[in-house]
Symmetry: C3
Subunit: 399 residues, 3 copies
Amino acid sequence: MIATTPHDIQRQIDTFGKRPSSGLHGKDFLLTWDKTREELEAILSIALILKAFRTSNISPRLWDSGLAVSQFRDNSTRTRFSFASACNLLGLTVADLDEGKSQIAHGETVRETANMISFMAEVIGIRDDMYIGKGHTYMLNVAEAVEQGFHDGVLEQRPTIVNLQCDIDHPTQSMADLLHLVTELGGIENLRGRKVAMSWAYSPSYGKPLSVPQGVIGLFTRFGMQVSLAYPEGYSLMPDVVAQARKFAASSGGSFHISSSMEEAFDGADVVYPKSWAPFAVMEERTKIVETGDAKALSELEKRCLANNANFKSWQCTESLMARTNDALYLHCLPADITGVSCAEGEVSAEVFDRFRTRLYRQAGYKPYVIAAMILASRISDPAARLSTILDRAESRTR
Amino acid sequence: MIATTPHDIQRQIDTFGKRPSSGLHGKDFLLTWDKTREELEAILSIALILKAFRTSNISPRLWDSGLAVSQFRDNSTRTRFSFASACNLLGLTVADLDEGKSQIAHGETVRETANMISFMAEVIGIRDDMYIGKGHTYMLNVAEAVEQGFHDGVLEQRPTIVNLQCDIDHPTQSMADLLHLVTELGGIENLRGRKVAMSWAYSPSYGKPLSVPQGVIGLFTRFGMQVSLAYPEGYSLMPDVVAQARKFAASSGGSFHISSSMEEAFDGADVVYPKSWAPFAVMEERTKIVETGDAKALSELEKRCLANNANFKSWQCTESLMARTNDALYLHCLPADITGVSCAEGEVSAEVFDRFRTRLYRQAGYKPYVIAAMILASRISDPAARLSTILDRAESRTR
Amino acid sequence: MIATTPHDIQRQIDTFGKRPSSGLHGKDFLLTWDKTREELEAILSIALILKAFRTSNISPRLWDSGLAVSQFRDNSTRTRFSFASACNLLGLTVADLDEGKSQIAHGETVRETANMISFMAEVIGIRDDMYIGKGHTYMLNVAEAVEQGFHDGVLEQRPTIVNLQCDIDHPTQSMADLLHLVTELGGIENLRGRKVAMSWAYSPSYGKPLSVPQGVIGLFTRFGMQVSLAYPEGYSLMPDVVAQARKFAASSGGSFHISSSMEEAFDGADVVYPKSWAPFAVMEERTKIVETGDAKALSELEKRCLANNANFKSWQCTESLMARTNDALYLHCLPADITGVSCAEGEVSAEVFDRFRTRLYRQAGYKPYVIAAMILASRISDPAARLSTILDRAESRTR
């Protein structure tokens, strides 16, 4: 899929340039379902072209100087480095807004801080995935603040917000997952009709965000896939996202089913994505408790939740389960809870994980390009024209 | 004020280039009162020209590679991002000297550390504002160390120290405030004769530095303004700075008065700057207590100080107070303690703050350019010639 | 030694280009004893040429964009800034892998993390010096992981691992020390026959790594020096490294002796390197205790070790000891424990330290260039040709 000659790269640029994706320009990337199918495919195309540039040692630098702001309200290794890589590739320097170091704790409003960090910012990447009803809302607040700041002449440019994982969606992850699928299956048209099992899996940890499974069902249903969501009783996702996925499946010629059986979901699947998450209801309860600051209640919730998880230890992706599939591709956003490796009993057996390790790493490797593509598509009014210019100028990344 | 054509930018460059400002070259920027009036105006001009470059998408990059060091011994959001933005604009990469991460706690002397971080540093930005008698002294020690290091052939260049707030002055703030005033009033000559009220205001917090009000009275008095400093009994500033302000007012044709009435200061004022600070005597006492490590004494001082503050809750900038002014411009260094928003009772009413919010954000937006101008003026021997070269080469900031 | 004309720089490039050093290309820099003498000398030459470029305001930038990853598992000021400086000089942006911020604590394996941070990484600098048997092993594991990742098509390039101090060696330090010696003695050929005293010295602290003395005896013995290692009973180094040093001394025409007398080591020495370290046996014991998590045992070990140290307070580098030397050059990796300055009794008297302070700072100043040379030699297939190109293009570092 990665073009290796200037001619092939140009052809890829021409192909995506013919389809409408101008709706991306000047817009944030918060939820994949806010974007049209053409726009999502444009992101994939730009990501592949940027990867081809890098392979061909062509620098796709867009800025001589410029700032990108990152704000991680939860831990991150891979997304942090993916964002840093994407920004570096385009010529932006990352400044991290570390709330421990800043005066945010001292009563600053979101509106004020958003403007204060944005005087020279082209993009703001935010991870805020811990609390239901908070993360996406926070991103909207930041977006509104910089929109207003730009309108009022406070900011010289209106920075693009990129969602690096919120409580609802994890678009840089799901789009990297999608690009991996496209590459593995030989083209986006080959996703149609394929069965994907997005299944809950057991983990000895608690409080894992819902945004990965939600991102997957909200995205894969758009390309005619047969999405089978499976989870034990009580582990449902946000109703709105489920409704959205159902609609997408209907309109794309795919399907969307929910079951309470991992086996059923895996039967005949072409793609499996077994992954733990916390129940929506528990996450909501947790958010409320955190707001009250009741440490005891929080600890009791955790205990109760872990005890409940333990009822479903059989929800593990093993080779015998894989045998029910249509020689399925195994996906995971990493890090996985691997039985006997990172924990006694977890989401996946070591055999399955090891068999797919290299492909999982490649899956993760698309994220920097997906993020760079999101930034480019938002900041540049005519991405195809600009990519052609970059190809023509052919500046080496190494000097 | 922001030139938008190459012709206008060139005219601005020519105008400031005619006046003597070569005293800035190779010098630190620690206190505004160490600089001549021409030098301060040169910084303002360079800042506006850099802003014009950015607006015109001209990259004012001065370095292909180079390091800037930041050291924040107190929290910071806006100054941290302003410094990062300024350095990025000029082509410098910021490396943060985080004392938690370094071996400074392990008995390194200031002299040694200053050299160890400076082998490739063009600039060192320092915030050290918590303790009376310490911050400015620390900056002088760092300056002396790198001066010696350069003299001894240890360093290939002598990095410029930029004061990002010390115990005495906050020049990047006061210069940004000044540039905002100049822009709002239509030119620096229009400051002459205008009345500015630099007034203490109530805050439910304790230990706010003196450097903002000191920076303001030490700078605004130089341009013929009628500076009225007001504070409750016991909240006096450093005597040396006050004496300096008095002298400046006399020689610039302005005036300087101290009163203990916010109303009196506001009467007929064209500009108001209501802002809380801790009494000089308390800050001195606190510094001594911190040195002894007596936690109990420190806690008692805080209690005593907060109780004393509470006697002056009426020192709040309200619309009724604003009505006494000559339709004054409200200034604040942010974040402000806003009554009913960030605290129950604070420095300013929400009505007044909201009315000025956009202008306050613009005021803050000058700081990156002021910092960049300070760096440029110190590192470049003939700033006007260099700015002309940048204008002529007209390299785009976007590539 | 630092060439100042293009002609002289070209001559230096030609000289080193004639000798074989292609073994550095594509290889990690973990231990100096893995490298040939020619390769080590090539690093020194490249370092001096890079320094000459900087002095001549020539930008040796190798990348338009690119990432360097740093991972500090122990505190660091000077090495952190040296690595940042080196990367910046070559055009790489440093992204720090801070295990506090990442999900490493959440059970990620080294293999996975190494790949996740390396999608766009040209170099990974690692400090991991606290535990015997761990640091070097960790670096080998990272190297193996990225080697595999590159082989599997996960990574587009195989990043170079640079050892920024492990449990065994500290090559960026010892190579900077060596370059300092070469400069001070007027050429690498002048090291032959010179006596160097690598001596233990008293410090009131505990747990200092062995890698500095080990790095020194493993490197200086390769250039025909007479290396005299001295330490009190019980403070021996790793037997393997000592055996290696003995072999190197024999084959280079130098010598290697161990004594338990600082005086004996200093007698007639041309170079002295008095420096504290923890006994190998204690460090091994500590590593085992840390693994069990027995805080009480750890505290008792520290007490015992400090008490034992205190028996050897006379092991201090004083002027009377220096008088026994052949007007020796005093070396230290810094920070030193200076008697009456950073501690009551320490490694060196203030008189000796002050007399060498400037030279010690210069010694430290070679580290950024040594690191940059290690990166360049590993990433560039024909360093001499590339350096000639850089010299010819003569791009200014300032723009």
